[in-house]
Subunit: 399 residues, 2 copies
C-alpha cells in the first residue's frame, strides 16, 4: 500500500500482532514514541461511562513531558473496574521501562469489545516486542495505524507540512474509525504528531479548535463512545523556536487540515455505508444553531435511510429543522441536494427527480445544502447513510 | 374483524374511500361527529414546520363548542402555503354545512405525503358522501379508524367504561400510527371521544396528562412529524353532571388507559419491526432525568439494531446513559433484559446468553430494565427495533 504520510522529526512508531485478536494477520498493538519530551494535549469522550485508559490518560494531559502513546485494539478495557485501571497503568509502566521515562510520561488508549479484562500478560509482552521494532520508516507509520484498527477496512493517515521561520514543520496524524460491531462502541481514536514547538496552552487550544471543526462534526450513528480520544504530541524537533502569531496560525491550519482529513476518512469508511453525506448549513441565526441543524439532519434515521435509497426526500430534511425549537418556518428554508434546488422558501420545486436520483446512485458523495436567510451562522457536518448492510452488521448475533 | 370498542353516547362516525388513495379498497376519509357541542382539547406537534390543518385546528381549541373532526389520509397538506390553509378551511366549512354548525366548530387533520396540494374537490365530495353514512354501528367506528390509516397494517381502537355518579361514561379512541414511507412523515393522529361532562380546563388537563404518559413515551425513529395531533372531545351525553374530584380521577384514568393502549398499538404496528421494546427506568435522580434516559435508549440506533439481532448488548445500553451529561458512572447502573440481570453495578454478570437470545428470538416483546439507586425518578418508554426490513421500507425509491 502506498501512503502519503511520513513521521515528523524525532518520532518513531511500531505496530505488531501481540495476540489480542485471534487472527495472527491482524495487528493489535501500536506504539508512538518521541525521542524527546513532548508538549501534549488531549480531548476525550464526554461519556460518563468511560474506559480505564480514558480515565488514566485524561489525568496526564495537558503536559510538557509526554514521551509516548501505547494503543491496543480488540479490547476497550471499559467497565473493568479497579483491575482495568491497574492494567492500563501497567501498560504505561512497561512502555516507560522500555524507552526510559517516567510512567506518567506515557499515555494509553484501548479500543474494542467492552466489559472484558485485558489479556494483560499478552499485551505487556507485546509492548516489549513492539519496542524493538520502533522506527521511522513509512512501514512503521503504516503498521502503527493498522495496530489501532478494529473494523476499519483501511488504515487512516494524513500529513501536512508547513514552513515556520526557516524550518519546515510536519504534522502527521493516524486514526481509527467510528465503525462498530457488537459490543464494540464505535470508538474513534486519533494521534496527531508534530515537530513544531508549541507551548502547552497553544497545543491545548490548537487541538480543541481542530477537533471542534473535524471529529466533532462527524457522526455515523450519533452515539458518543466510551473510549473516544484524540491526542496531540508536539516535540519541537523541527528546529523552529517559539512561534509568533503567524507561525501559530500556520501550524493551527495544518493541524486543522490533518484532523479534518482523518475525520472524513472515518466517515468514508463507515461500516455498511453506500454514501458519504456532507451537510452544509448557511444563513442560520448563529453558529450554534447552524451546528444543531446540521447535526440533526446528520443523525436523522429517516434522512439517512432516504439517502441510502437515493431518494432526494426534502420533507424529512425540512422537518428536521422544524423540530429543534429554533424560531423558523418552512418559508425560511431553501434546500439543495447535489447543487439541485428541490425546495425553495417553503415550496417544493419542480426538478428532474429521476436524473438526480440516478446521479445519487452513481456517486458516493452526496451534498445537502440548507440555505437560510436568518443570520450568518454556518456549519458543516459529515455523516454516512443508513443501509440494510449497516443494520445487518450491527444486529449480527455473534455468539 | 372483531373490535372491542363502541362509540360513546351522542357520537357518530363514518369512513369512506373518496379518491385520494389510488386503490379504491383503501379508505381515505373519516368523520367524527357529536350530536351536541363538545368540550374539546388538542395537543399538536411542536415541529415549526407543520401542516395547514395543524395551524387551523390549533387555533380552534380549547373550545366548548366543537361538533366534529374531519380527517383525510393520503396527503398531509403540509408545505402547501396559503392554498393549503384555504383547502383545510374549506374541509371544515363543507362538513359544517352538512351537519349544521359553525365552521369554527369543526377540526381537521391530514396525514400522508407532504408538499402536494390536496385534491380538494375530491375531498369535498367525499365529505358529503361520508356525511350520509354517519352512524353508531361498530362498523362505522371501524371505518373511521380505517379512513385515517396510512401505512398502518391494522386499524387502532381502544375503549374504557367508567361509572360516574350513577351513570356509565365511555371513552373511545382511534388512532393511526408512526409507520412511514417516503416522503410521509411518521405522523401520529388520535381522536379520543368521551360522553362524560368535562369542563374546558378539565379536558385540557386530562388530555395533556394522558399524552405525556402515552404518545410522548413512544418513538419509532425519534422524529417529530409535521402533523402529529391528538384531540379529545367530550359531549357530556352520558348523563353525569359536573364531576367531583373522584369522578375526575376516574375519567382521567380511563383517558390515560385509552391513550396508552393506542400508543402501544402504534409501536406494535411499527413498520418492519420484529420487536416491541419496553424500557423501564427506576431510581433515577428525578423524573425528568429518568425520561431522558429512557428516551435515549429508545432512540439509539445501536440499541435498536442489537435488539433486532436478539443480542442482549449491555454495552450499548449502558453507554447511552453515560452520554447524557447526567452525574453517574457505570457503578450506578444495573441492567436486566427480560428480567435477566446481565450488568450489575458496573460489572457484566455471568448468565446464559444463548438462552436469553433464543428467548428474544421467540418473543415479540423485549423488556429493558435500568435499575439505578440515585433517587426516585421513574419512566417508561416504548419503541420498536431497527431491522433490515425497516431500512428497506424507508429507503425504497418510489418514483
Amino acid at each position: 500500500m502506498e501512503i502519503a504520510a511520513s513521521l515528523p522529526k524525532g518520532f518513531q512508531t511500531a505496530g505488531v500482532h501481540c495476540g489480542i485478536k485471534p487472527d495472527a494477520e491482524l495487528l493489535d498493538l501500536a506504539l508512538f514514541v518521541s525521542d524527546s519530551p513532548c508538549i501534549a494535549a488531549g480531548v476525550f469522550t464526554q461519556n460518563r461511562v468511560c474506559g480505564a485508559p480514558v480515565q488514566l490518560s485524561r489525568d496526564r494531559v495537558p503536559s510538557d513531558s509526554i514521551r509516548a502513546v501505547v494503543i491496543n485494539s480488540g479490547n476497550a478495557n471499559t467497565c473493568t473496574g479497579e483491575r482495568g485501571l491497574r492494567d492500563a497503568r501497567q501498560m504505561t509502566e512497561r512502555l516507560a521501562n522500555q524507552i526510559g521515562c517516567e510512567d506518567e510520561s506515557v499515555l494509553v488508549c484501548s479500543t474494542g469489545v467492552i466489559g472484558h479484562f485485558l489479556p494483560i500478560e499478552t499485551i505487556l509482552s507485546g509492548i516489549e516486542q513492539a519496542s524493538t521494532q520502533l522506527g521511522r520508516a513509512d512501514s512503521n507509520l503504516l503498521n502503527s495505524a493498522r495496530g489501532m484498527m478494529t473494523t476499519d477496512t483501511v488504515p487512516k493517515l494524513a500529513m501536512r507540512e508547513v514552513a515556520l521561520g526557516g524550518a519546515t514543520a510536519r504534522v502527521t496524524g493516524v486514526c481509527k474509525g467510528a465503525a462498530m460491531i457488537a459490543p464494540n462502541m464505535a470508538t474513534m481514536l486519533a494521534v496527531i504528531m508534530a515537530d513544531a514547538a508549541l507551548t502547552t496552552d497553544q497545543a491545548d487550544k490548537a487541538l480543541r479548535h481542530a477537533v471542534d471543526e473535524s471529529f466533532n462534526c462527524i457522526s455515523v450513528e450519533g452515539h458518543t463512545s466510551t473510549s473516544d480520544t484524540v491526542l496531540l504530541l508536539a516535540n519541537g524537533e523541527s528546529g523552529d523556536k517559539s512561534l509568533n502569531e503567524v507561525d501559530f496560525d500556520a501550524i493551527q491550519t495544518a493541524i486543522d487540515e490533518v484532523a479534518l482529513e482523518l475525520a472524513k476518512s472515518i466517515v468514508a469508511d463507515a461500516e455498511g455505508a453506500d454514501h458519504t453525506i456532507t451537510i452544509n448549513v448557511t444563513g442560520a441565526p448563529n453558529r450554534e444553531q447552524a451546528q444543531r441543524m446540521a447535526r440533526a439532519v446528520a443523525n436523522d434515521v429517516l434522512v439517512k435511510t432516504a439517502i441510502a435509497g437515493c431518494d432526494p426526500n426534502w420533507g424529512r430534511i425540512v422537518s428536521c429543522l422544524g423540530r429543534l425549537g429554533i424560531e423558523l418556518d418552512e418559508r425560511d428554508i431553501t434546500l439543495q441536494i447535489n447543487d439541485v434546488t428541490i425546495f425553495e422558501r417553503g415550496n417544493p420545486v419542480e426538478y428532474d427527480e429521476t436524473s438526480l436520483s440516478q446521479q445519487m446512485r452513481a456517486e458516493r458523495n452526496v451534498s445537502i445544502d440548507l440555505l437560510l436567510a436568518l443570520g450568518d451562522g454556518t456549519a458543516r457536518f459529515w455523516t454516512s447513510d443508513l443501509t440494510m448492510e449497516y443494520v445487518r452488521l450491527n444486529s449480527e448475533y455473534t455468539t
